[in-house]
């Protein structure tokens, strides 16, 4: 249990996917304009990450390793995650229109995102078991949500500021992401990395 807690907190704060590993920067820049949409995006990423972690765990351990096909990891993971998310999207639209409206538009955006793929590839490398992999994925998703919601709050506030025109939008977001990454370096060493 303690081990799981450490994995979770470590992934949210110390090895934050966006601010320490610099994965998933494109949705981080693209969808961080408003707090509400940023939060929905964070939820969608968490959802897809957890799904992807579960499925790729089985693919890795019950298909690729027994058949000696580990070199197909990248290709098979991409294929499986992309098709899975499309299936979930179709399923959600029929079964839960409310959830579909909240997550739906973001799902196709993140199927091929590097944060999802990075997560799927990190799990076998870290040697996590099934439960640990799910907790790791949840932590990664929560960490992403934290980073993108904080950024959206800052960006909403900066809408009214008197900053140089050339810096508006992507430029200032990248600079702030850099400053936030510096602040997150304070967590280095908290909960063994």
């Amino acid at each position: 249990m303690e081990n799981l807690l450490l994995i979770f907190a470590g992934t949210v704060l110390v090895n934050n996917f966006v601010l320490a590993q610099f994965l998933g920067i494109c949705p981080y820049l693209g969808v961080s304009r408003q707090v509400d949409t940023a939060f929905s995006m964070g939820m969608a990423v968490t959802f897809v990450m957890t799904m992807a972690a579960m499925v790729t765990f089985f693919i890795q351990n019950y298909l690729l390793i027994p058949l000696g096909l580990e070199y197909l990891q990248t290709v098979s993971f991409i294929l499986v995650i992309a098709s899975l998310v499309q299936l979930v999207e179709i399923f959600l639209r029929k079964v839960s229109p409310v959830l579909y409206r909240a997550l739906g538009i973001f799902l196709p955006l993140i199927t091929t995102n590097c944060a999802i793929m990075g997560l799927a590839l990190l799990i076998p490398r870290e040697g996590y078991n099934f439960i640990e992999a799910i907790v790791f994925a949840l932590g990664a998703g929560v960490g992403f949500t934290l980073a993108i919601v904080l950024m959206a709050g800052l960006r909403e506030q900066l809408e009214m500021s008197d900053m140089p025109q050339a810096l508006r939008g992507g430029a200032i977001t990248l600079i702030m992401a850099g400053l936030m990454a510096m602040a997150f370096m304070g967590f280095a060493g908290v909960i063994g990395t």
Partner: protein, 307 residues
Amino acid sequence: MEDKKLLITPAPHIRSGDTVPGVMEGVIFALVPAMFAAAYFFGFAALQIILTCILACVVTEALWVYARKKDVRAYLGDGSAVVTGILLAFTLPPTTPLWTAALGGIIGISLGKHIFGGLGYNVFNPALVGRAFLTVSFPSLMTNWVFDGVTVATPLEHYAATEYITSYWDLFVGSIGGCLGETSAILILLGGAYLLYRGIIDWRLALGYAGTVVIFALLLGRDPIFHLFSGGLILGAIFMITDPVTSPIGRKARWVYAIGAGLLVMVIRIWGAAPGGVLYSILLMNATVPLLDRYLPDRIFGEVSKK
């Protein structure tokens, strides 16, 4: 503000008479005692670093304001760049080379303040941005402590290595290794008392921050007085977390902000690799300010309850 005859502003119309230059003068005045402590304990090097930082900040600010075609004299006259310079210098070790100190000032004012549009728009505390940049770029220069001509460890480093607790008296007076302006708790508190008296800083922020550290230390069975007076916590509580631009506006939001920063300091101090956490705790909480102000607003006078 050019046309003095007709000035249309939204409410409130009661003015306090506080101006930005007035507030900044107050802060600079309150920083003077700690500056004396820095000069007394660390000698001429301390004054050189402080002057270099001020100069770097003021010149950088002037260049930005000039490049953006604004009134250079009005901007420099508010003294905020001087405050940033002094605060940055206070967070640097006494052995910092002058070029490093200057670089910190340039980065702090540029990336911490003017890319956001200048004073009032900055999200992060400029002095802390400069310091964080230097910590990331030159980690060995930023942890090189000398006291009385001898290389020493800061009280927190000493504690992390051997659980040795520096005497309270030394911590209180400031005869310990550390950053220029953080060592002498009593002289920083003197400046803090003046700022409280003038109403420039909000006691909620300072108390929430320092109080959380004390309570957290007590709960974990650590020495609360040691944690309170070491690692620049008092400097942070008086001069940094109270920065009016980068702290929340509402009272509830301020409490959450200060307590959150206090918790982060202790988490970083106890479990982190870096012995000090003041710098990171305030920068991290700076990022939450827009959300705190948005979700924890104060009840507006005359507001009708929603029920």
